[in-house]
């Protein structure tokens, strides 16, 4: 009895079912095994993010407003309080922070889109696809990193305004921008996966971003801060992103503002740019891991 049932089941699966429709997609039919499928998922999600990004021209323009305000308005507004020379110095000092700021907008947008996807149900549609959930997140983060890098390029093109000349070294800066952008997106995604209500997400983001920026050395040198704030600065991952950018950037932003170094120090030792970059990468991985664990949980 059981035997016949098994036979019937096999026949059902193996032979042509005698109806005018193609057989269900066999596992991994698009060539290759698990890894190939994961890669394809990453690509699909990346593609979706870039389409969404490029289609919303208004959002691209609006994302540029804040960085431009900081670079042009803040820099110029301080005109009366500063001499011509120190103003130019300040602009150069500010520039890496402005680049970071431009990268933050698309990262948050990606996080927000996940929160909205959850609300709209689109997320659930993805969750029932036979793909690994970590691949969904990695693809999304890469998409965010790409959008971020696009903003980064736009801001870097303004470099000469802040005495940052066009120089091959900007390509290295761009690589860092991509990494920082990925880390930012991973953080946004981790927050989005843990927070379910769009309103809460907005509040959480605006609550976190401002202090993170102010205590990163993006706006002003942080060496003058009292001890405990200095500790906060050293714990802030943004500090290392700003500093790595500043030190890689052509021009003399890293030693501006009176000539001294503005890099963070660990007990008198300044970590090299490579270590700072590694820290950002580690931070990105940590965020991504948290997000994936949370995201893969079945309730």
């Amino acid at each position: 009895m059981a035997q016949t049932e098994v036979h019937r089941a096999r026949a059902e699966r193996a032979g042509p079912p005698g109806r005018a429709r193609p057989a269900p997609v066999p596992p991994g039919s698009a060539g290759g095994g698990r890894a190939a499928r994961d890669l394809r998922t990453v690509k699909v999600l990346w593609h979706r993010e870039t389409i969404r990004f490029s289609r919303n021209k208004l959002r691209i323009a609006m994302g540029m407003v804040t960085p431009l305000m900081f670079l042009l308005v803040l820099g110029t507004g301080l005109n009366s309080a500063m001499s011509e020379d120190s103003l130019r110095d300040f602009r150069a000092f500010l520039f890496p922070g402005v680049v970071l700021m431009s990268v933050q907008a698309p990262a948050i947008a990606v996080g927000a889109s996940i929160v909205w996807d959850r609300r709209s149900g689109f997320l659930r549609q993805m969750l029932v696809a036979p793909v690994r959930r970590s691949a969904i997140l990695v693809g999304t983060c890469l998409g965010g990193a790409t959008s971020g890098a696009a903003y980064g390029v736009l801001v870097l093109l303004l470099g000469p305004v802040a005495d940052v000349p066009y120089h091959p070294q900007l390509l290295l800066v761009l690589l860092q921008v991509v990494l920082v952008s990925f880390a930012f997106t991973a953080l946004g995604v981790a927050a989005a996966v843990c927070i379910r209500r769009p309103e809460t997400f907005q509040v959480a983001v605006s609550l976190c971003m401002l202090p993170l920026f102010f205590l990163s050395g993006a706006m002003f040198p942080v060496d003058g801060l009292p001890g405990w704030l200095g500790t906060v600065v050293r714990l802030n991952p943004l500090t290392y992103a700003v500093d790595a950018l500043r030190r890689t950037m052509p021009g003399d932003g890293a030693t501006a503002m009176g000539g001294g170094s503005v890099s963070p120090e660990w007990w008198g030792w300044t970590p090299p740019v490579l270590a700072e970059t590694g820290l950002i990468a580690a931070f990105a991985l940590l965020s991504l891991t948290i997000a994936t664990r949370r995201f893969s949980r079945v309730e």
Binding site: R21, R40, S120, V128, A129
Partner: protein, 321 residues
């Protein structure tokens, strides 16, 4: 283990803390069948679908969908099912075609086959002329049709429809069902749907009534109505109380009075009316005879009408924060 069932559920249970959303559910759906889950909001229909689609983990029991175990072979189940959720789950920024292509890519359909399937399905749901428009410009009915097309893209064996016509106007609802019937005629596909619209359950080969997490009764729509059996006769008279008493005395039938008049049930309603009018001393103004509806079936088994039972509660997937 792949038996002759499209869906096989044994002792399925889902609890949230102390709340039992689904209690010891057993059911079997044959391939090609259209099976309907009827029940008020919060009856556990969506939770059941969530488990069958591998989105929720059952607290106890087991189930097989498209020949695979929902917990141990989740990926195989996902490849074998199509899904249309209660709410719209399309990406409004993408065009209709892009939404379908996104799904095809996620499921790893080969390029050529995906292209063919997409154009065929857009034809089936009559959206070919709008394939390049962003989905946010679509009406509710168009979105739902596109979602059905998307659910079919990877030629699933079982199509789950969670409240497929909720929030749509009656005309659109009819057109969605026309599409579904055409689909069933063209492909041998199992359709598993939930609804709290009684009319919608009439489209099913077999249906089950679910209430408070439990399967109350199961059968064909006609069979279930036959259990309730009798036609409903409603009389409007000068004096409902007296008329009701007279009906009980003369015909030995149980009659209730309500705001709509005297209600009674009898096998052959239409044949009974002339005799009733002739023998009743109270003047009768109007008589309506209604064959049993699924609402009567629901009332019969749960003691409430489905509208009374319909709470404002929405099913949820996990805690909200």
């Amino acid at each position: 283990m792949s038996g002759p069932h499209a869906v096989l559920v044994e002792g399925l249970r889902k609890t949230y803390g102390t709340h039992e959303a689904v209690v010891d559910l057993d059911l079997a759906v044959a391939p090609g069948e259209t099976y309907g889950f009827l029940g008020p909001n919060g009856a556990g229909k969506s939770t059941t679908i969530g488990m069958l689609c591998t989105l929720l983990r059952p607290s106890a029991g087991r189930a097989e969908v498209a020949g695979h175990d929902i917990t141990r072979e989740a990926d195989a189940v996902r490849r074998g099912i199509g899904l249309v959720f209660q709410e719209s789950t399309l990406d409004g920024e993408l065009t209709a075609e892009e939404n379908l292509r996104f799904q095809a890519d996620l499921f790893g359909l080969p390029r050529a086959r995906a292209r063919r399937a997409i154009s065929e399905l857009l034809d089936l749901v009559e959206l070919t002329h709008r394939k390049d428009s962003p989905v946010r410009t679509f009406s509710g009915g168009m979105r739902r049709r596109l979602e059905i097309a998307r659910g079919l893209l990877h030629t699933p064996r079982v199509l789950f429809l969670d409240e497929p016509t909720t929030g749509l106007d009656p005309q659109t609802r009819v057109s969605i069902w026309e599409h579904l019937h055409r689909l069933r005629a063209e492909q041998e596909i199992t359709i598993f749907l939930t609804t709290h619209h009684l009319e919608e359950a009439e489209h099913c080969d077999r249906m089950a009534i679910m209430d408070q997490g439990q399967l109350v009764v199961e059968g064909t729509p006609a069979g279930l109505k036959a259990v309730v059996g009798a036609d409903l006769v409603v009389l409007r008279t000068d004096d409902d109380e007296r008329a009701a008493l007279a009906v009980q005395d003369r015909f030995g039938l149980k009659a209730d009075t309500g705001p709509d008049g005297v209600r009674l049930r009898t096998q052959d309603g239409a044949g009974f009316v002339p005799r009733l009018c002739a023998e009743l001393a109270v003047p009768v103004h109007a008589v309506t005879v209604t064959p049993p509806t699924l609402d009567d079936v629901f009332l019969h088994y749960t003691g409430r009408t489905i509208r009374e039972a319909d709470g404002p509660q929405q099913p949820h997937f996990g805690p909200r924060r």
